[in-house]
Symmetry: D3
Subunit: 237 residues, 6 copies
């Protein structure tokens, strides 16, 4: 029995609000259960130095948690003077996942910066970030097309992410904080709308897991991501 | 004529949402026109080292802007590895303003941390932060009383803040971004519900201002703050 | 009765030594009672990146306290690896105040850096810094004119600053450390020689202050600044 | 055909030198083909603050590359003043992997610090680090038992790691740099001697991968890790 | 012929002003020609963590240059966020030199912090710092004895420092900036009043130097330091 | 009697392994007794900004100790976020010493970066670094000549370094850790193959030393460096 009463393959309700803030070219508030993340996509012309003159664009991502998005207050990273290893790990994951969705040559010499800021955390902030940012990215690219900054749509596919895990011996989909903090295994999976795997990160906490359990979790993830991609498409149409 | 069509002594509409997020003891989303700030008040038992054993509590504040709360994206301070001078100036102002509202001895050896995070900026983020944080603070103190962490209410009075300025030669109340970026003078005023001045910070940009203009601006500010304190009280009742 | 025996509108003695050090284009030791600040103005050709090609100059300021300029030793900011919020707040104030004195277009693509380093602190270091830096600035600009780096004098007016406050219920001028550390209200005012207000920063410590008290303090400040500007002019002639 | 001429399921030669340096309680030079990593395990009594009084030990890991361990010189992280996101990601992975091998309660209030420093890089430095560190850890624990710092062996099992990937459409084991830099998919797997999965991190570069390909790569990894654990055991006996 | 017209074994004029500032237990302005350094000695009770409970005191030193103490302005180290390698090298030298003058056990569990801040630089700032700090240290120790913080004088001897070098082929004493910037060899020597060598740091710039030249420079240094120690003693009596 | 049983003028055995790692243009493992340092020389085209357009090259050096190269583990400087004063002092010494060996104009607009990383420390790591780096430098320059990056050999001479000291009242050559940690005086000397002194750094710990002792130590150093230069030349032929 899951603490939330959900069945093992049941997602939390997902709410997507586009244009949540007004300045960004793409701005999405994604709510997955009680987890709430504000994802923006910002366009700047030009590329980082290491890409100058290579005739391609770039996409990068940053992630942060508001200090009191969590049960107890976390120190503000700007005040501590550095981003934690966890933060860097997550923003690198978001960046790789969304770069996989974009044809960087079609993007021209432009840079898209994704910002994912967690307003409220209840487990699964990194996967919610990727799912929400994918929509913000789609909006930003539409803006570029409208503004004729680019000619051809560089978006290859939608990207979505979900966590799976083993909770009290059973593979379950979309762990919330109550499950996440005690799960034996926690795995985050990023896939595209064609069921291709982009990223996979699984960690055993305490017990290890077997290839069979891995296959079961993959099963759950595929189903969950299909549902999420439906929700993404609905919100964009 | 103000860009927004407001009269010179007219505030922007103010919207206050209490319990905007669920973990903090006080959590307020304040919207002043298009400026939106999330203000939380977090309680921790214990005090900073310099107050150990002095039989009193402490209140401190931190401020941040989400990178894309502004027209063009600002670098994330956590990634740059330090808070700007502007950020520090603002969070020191917020801290002093709200400490003025609390009897620190009645607070016991507890620390309240105020976090003001700007989701969307359209001028007046520091004054909106103070006004919103004052409500979050009131909620956090109610929590402490309910939990019997303290016996006596340490809140001395509500605190509110507003900007005034001289725009195209005329003193105006509550500058938005369009005004703020071209005003000759910009002044932020913090007062309590008893019309006592807590903080005053005025800066001439380009032209200087005279003691007479200062008095006129004070006039506007007093009236504006009275209105704001009514709104605060309504939202708390 | 003030600890120093001064009357409520009496300045401390001010001593100005020009060319205190030899390398800077402007170098002034200002002594206000026991407060001593070394103010230098340094000229460099070129402007910061954000002003490149805009056909104007720039003026910026930095402030520091020697570790043992104070009663007990303060940690050296260079060793701690960052400037405190207070330091940044003060150097931003000095920079804004002196930029108000210069026509940046007449300055050409040159940068003037003001350094204010406190050798001994007894209250009022930020206002002494502004008053002293104004003279160092005047000297540096004379140097530029002599060297034909610029054709027209970009100095619009002298700038001076003073603190006022409410000490034991009475408005007083030019607080020293003994007063400053116990005053109910502390306000710093920057004005030019034409009695225009450039900056105003007032803070209530403990009690608040009323618009009437504000007007009384403004009165004192105006008179004090007039006297200081006389002293500045005498020292420059 | 792989650049090295290896078959798709063939490991590079592995060389393990114990006691490579003299001061550390465990010190192992591991060579996997041309990749060379020095892994040390250092024992200190006491635990980090967050574990004080919890009656358990701790294990943590740090990772670094010598500036010229790579084809072109990388900036020294100590000189740049921070560890890169990649470095932090890797050292967190090493730490989690080896903590999974130790019963922290049996370790007592002691801390083991694993240092993995890459002397020469040719792909697979993070997996070589884990494999080598597992042996250094075993040696350090033997030292603790010999010194009677602990009574019962807290080592639960050996841990080993390997990379697998899809290179030119074919799943291959143990990618070297020539493969790694052009592989479509790169996955790192950490397992224990009982074939339990501890960590799994797969990234698609360019193309995505399918659950079937994932299963094939898991197959290769299991076989490879079995061979590596044999080598570890031989080196320890 | 030296640029200053001095003979090869001639010191620059030395001026020592004790109690230059009022808060520090020892405060000395030392002027060596046009080089001016403010040296303070501050007493704090307690010792750094690594000496706790060892029944001894500590002495440490910090060094800084005001940004415009030099011909062209140097970036402020506090603003850059770190001390340069040169600064650290110098402050370590000052600390070692003065620790050699103090019996740390007789100092009790107290810490003396030496601050040497260069107001104006014309070569030889590190040696002037040591010479001046030695006097500030003597004053601070007198203060401790007067205050009965310690019973027995822990000062073993005065310490003084001077530079020697080879300028246009000739060994010379006490290089000023004009010589220092073109000298073939530059050597700093710290000795005590009993002619014992405490520190010796010689660097060849361009050409190397021979043991014979080293002996000649040592000769000059010994004579120079004898003269300086006379001046120190005169200033203290 | 020395702890190692060596005579007072006896070097520890020196082992030099060229091409210890494969990527660097020069890569040398130097072993001096139990001290082991990996020295690499890396070539990059271009020069630092301050030398742009001056038609010359540059050589710089960095130094580090692996965290467990020492008896007890030292914090990793990359994790602490800064290099210690000691590290900076040493790398500046290595840089100056090797720049003295190179005609920077003949080097063209190229930069050579020396990295000295201590794998195991038993005293004398900075002198071993210089001696080893001199060989790595020679190898890197040969590479440049072979690749026709430069026409004329810019290497002026070999450089070697050794420590001398006063141990239990007797001058001794090449202090190991057991001696170094208790020696009264410790001096590091860098010379070239023509017996010219490049750098000299002597520190008295506890007692001071006399000019006569200095001359005796210089004697020992000269003899030791002659032997080392023979070993360097043998290893290069």
């Amino acid at each position: 029995m899951r603490p939330s009463g959900r069945t093992s393959n049941q997602l939390r309700p997902i709410q997507i609000t586009r244009q949540f803030t007004s300045h960004a070219e793409g701005s999405v508030l994604i709510e997955v259960g009680d987890t709430r993340v504000l994802c923006t996509a910002s366009i700047e012309s030009g590329v980082p130095r290491f890409l100058k003159g290579k005739n391609q664009g770039w996409l990068t991502a940053e992630y942060g948690m508001l200090p009191r998005s969590t049960h107890t207050r976390n120190a503000r990273e700007a005040a501590r003077g550095k981003q934690s290893g966890r933060t860097q790990e997550i923003q690198r994951l978001i960046g790789r996942s969304l770069r996989a969705a974009v044809d960087l040559e079609l993007l021209g010499e432009n840079t898209i910066t994704i910002d994912c800021d967690v307003l409220q955390a209840d487990g699964g902030t990194r996967t919610a970030s990727i799912t929400g940012a994918s929509i913000a990215l789609a909006d930003a690219i539409k803006y570029m097309l409208r503004q004729k900054m680019i000619q051809t749509n560089p978006l290859k596919h939608m990207v979505a992410a979900i966590s799976v895990g083993i909770y009290q011996g059973t593979p379950v989909l979309d762990l919330d904080y109550a499950e996440d903090s005690t799960a034996e295994t926690d795995m985050n999976i990023v896939m595209n709308e064609d069921k291709g795997i982009i990223e996979l990160q699984g960690t055993a906490e305490g017990a290890t897991f077997s290839p069979t359990e891995l296959a079961e979790m993959m099963q759950l993830a595929q189903q969950g991501i299909s549902e999420i991609i439906e929700i993404q498409k609905a919100s964009l149409s």
